[in-house]
Symmetry: C2
Subunit: 465 residues, 2 copies
């Protein structure tokens, strides 16, 4: 259903651009569409058709459209037009988007474009560029309504009307003192329904939430989500208002943060997309694989210690993969839960201990269920298909069941402790990726399984197969 | 830094509530704080102090505060007050939040509360309750400004002022025809700067994006993100306007969707949190573990086929875990990339083939690098630490290197094909979780490793160790 809708808009827009209507009519018609829908049509137009669109639409509309085009494409489209027009379009865009697009333009063109942009846009860009990528200031926009605190409702309203033409985010109005210090915020709704002669002070929420530009995104993202406002002000260290974080930026931030965690969890160093060249993808994945290979070799050399046990009783090696995988799976589950818990809340020492204890109990409970099942099924399997006596079969499957329980309890604890430890030493717990936990749990599982087999089967029962 | 800020607000609010100021003064002071900050103080107040707050603040403010309290807590707080007041607070909340809170109230109290709520809120709840959890309609709010299409700018403005007191989302105004059919949208900004006597028609974007209430959240979430609007209208199947999806809901949706994918990827059936009882956690994890145990047994019985090979050459079993883990890791990486690609875009058949081909090439390239490394290092290890001849050592490590390459190529393909296949048969590709892929790749790795060892080492070279 939704695909049809989008397709309809697309073909309608294409028809309009390809028609022979006069520029005025065409502009009227195109302005009825959402910028995102217009942006989606751009790749399907020929360069001549796009140039027609650049001439027909006004700069404000083009700026809005360019915000919906990905930065690489946008830079390419800017190359198709007069450089002055390109600079004007950039001047009208949200500052954080401009920075992204400029990064994609050629080194020769970039300074020229920046020079041609209007002074205010240049100033805003400089402010945003002063923050690094992990700081919340890098994601703000300066596109907001700011008024002084000593106005009447009527004056505030006319201040808003003056600034509205140039600024998109009008649903919250920010109030500053004479020297630009953040004073509070007014919900536009409250301003609209307030009596014109009443003092503005009554409408101002003076303890409005805010963030400092230098706060780490990781640290304030939960707070930004909790306030669920359309825009949250960003202050510098002197409490001066620099700009706002819009809820659109919050959507992007949440998407990025979780996407990154997801990628790390899967043992990638960063998110990948479809168009990425092969070489890039290989580079992103190789580092983890090399580490994991190293760890795998350690596991192998530990298995090597038990070669003697296995050579006396080769049947036990058939079930190695079962125990290793189950330990890895339990560890991965505990890890995923712990990472999410750590992301959403800050835990006290006691809560951390409780979490580890809980994960171990879950590991134990599930371990007992799976261990008993394995004991029954595998014993039967060995007796029936491997032609061993029932006594022998259930001695082996008993060892398997026991080591499953043991490995799952320890894996639950490891899967919880490792991210907690990483968090403690200020390393992102998401890098304790699934594959890493799996490899560590392999060690646990190998030692508990072959250790138990060696002790019980070979040592005590003197079995050999 | 940000923790200090929040703590300050908290203690300020606590001081105000605990002071002996008159109700009027106290209300004035409390209204200066953000609802979320007020909500965060509630758990630290005694029941008597909370009752004081319920009496002092007006219903509108209390409704806003209750939207920031989690549903279980909110239901408990509602129990502390007069049932009429509780119903009034619910009437003022966003409809989707009301539904969540009501679900947490006792079965006896729920119908009474609903009866006492105002008629309009009841009607809105009925509309939202008519959608199921996976449909976008269940996440909308009816809290929006709606006007007729045949007005002047001035009339539209006064319509807005009338509705603003009751509705929070005013930055976009929705326009409907006489029978309620969706006609278009006006950006409040445009309305504010428009000349009063100009026709409204000029300000209306008639091809504004929308979704149908019955669309699946999974299907339209990308579209909602792309438009990056403060609110997107939701229509019924007759194109009548039902409500809007706000950008706050989009933040929550993105958070939920990605959290769910993340959980599924780790082999959990759903997200867990810290406070969840042990039994719940066990139940969420056990289903996958049982499936994985079953699959693990299949792998074990396949390994069993090669018991003969291993018994002749026990050293090769030391490296089983290495090859299985690496195959699993590569598969997990491919899987994670494919799931994210599938989430963000819809692929053509050709693109799908390209993706599989690319993942196989990445597997091959990384496989060759890791295979050569393993060949060199493991050969040396066997020769030096296991006391074998160099010829024997490098014959074994050659097999390991070769099967690493083979297993990684196949794993890359499997990790890509399985989610593509799941998508094709309309199963969420995220259920092709990491552990599932790992187990499947185990089979691939076991067969290629022991198969190769059996053929080359035992069959051709007639080695035995």
């Amino acid at each position: 259903m939704e695909n049809n809708v989008q397709e309809d808009y697309k073909s309608e827009i294409l028809d309009i651009v390809r028609s022979n209507a006069s520029p005025g009519i065409m502009r009227d018609k195109l302005e009825d569409y959402h910028e995102n829908d217009l942006a989606e049509v751009f790749p399907e137009l020929t360069i001549t058709e796009r140039r027609k669109v650049y001439r027909i639409l006004d700069i404000g509309m083009l700026s809005d459209i360019f915000e919906h085009i990905d930065e690489k494409q946008a830079a390419a489209y800017l190359d198709e037009m007069d450089i002055k027009k390109a600079a004007a379009i950039l001047s009208g865009m949200e500052t954080d988007a401009v920075v992204d697009v400029l990064r994609m333009t050629s080194k020769e063109k970039r300074p020229v474009l920046i020079d041609l942009m209007d002074a205010e846009a240049r100033k805003d860009m400089a402010v945003i560029a002063s923050f690094d990528d992990e700081e919340i200031g890098s994601r703000m926009t300066t596109n907001c309504i700011v008024i002084r605190e000593n106005l009447t409702v009527k004056q505030a309203m006319s201040g808003l009307i003056d600034q509205a033409a140039k600024n998109d985010n009008i649903s919250t109005i920010f109030v500053v003192t004479e020297d630009g210090t953040f004073y509070g915020a007014i919900d536009l709704k409250d301003l609209i329904i307030a009596r014109q002669e009443s003092p503005l002070e009554d409408q101002i929420v003076t303890s409005y939430p805010y963030v400092y530009g230098q706060e780490q995104i990781d640290d304030c993202i939960e707070k930004l989500k909790d306030y669920s406002e359309n825009s949250i002000p960003v202050l510098d260290n002197d409490n001066k208002l620099l700009g706002v974080i819009t809820s659109q930026s919050i959507v992007e931030l949440v998407d990025d943060e979780m996407g990154e965690d997801y990628a790390k969890f899967a043992g990638l160093t960063a998110e990948e997309d479809l168009k990425e060249p092969l070489k890039e993808s290989i580079k992103k994945r190789l580092p983890w694989l090399l580490i994991l290979l190293g760890l795998g070799m350690v596991v192998s050399s530990v298995v090597g210690v038990f070669e003697q046990v296995v050579s006396q009783l080769t049947i036990i090696m058939c079930f190695q993969s079962l125990i290793l995988d189950m330990a890895g799976n339990v560890g991965t589950q505990s890890l995923a839960v712990t990472i999410r818990v750590l992301m959403d809340e800050s835990l006290t020492g006691k809560q951390k201990l409780e979490l580890v204890w809980k994960e171990m109990r879950i590991g134990f409970s599930n371990g007992v269920i799976l261990g008993v099942l394995s004991f029954l099924i595998i014993g039967l399997y060995i007796a029936l298909f491997k032609g061993k006596t029932f006594g022998f079969a259930y001695a082996v499957s008993g060892c398997i069941g026991l080591s499953l329980v043991l490995a799952m309890v320890i894996s639950g604890a490891v899967g919880t402790c490792i991210p907690l430890f990483f968090k403690k030493i200020h390393v992102d717990p998401a890098v304790a990726s699934g594959p890493l936990i799996t490899t560590i749990n392999d060690l646990v599982a190998v030692i508990s399984y072959y250790g138990l087999c060696g002790l019980l089967l070979v040592g005590v029962l003197h079995l050999a197969g």
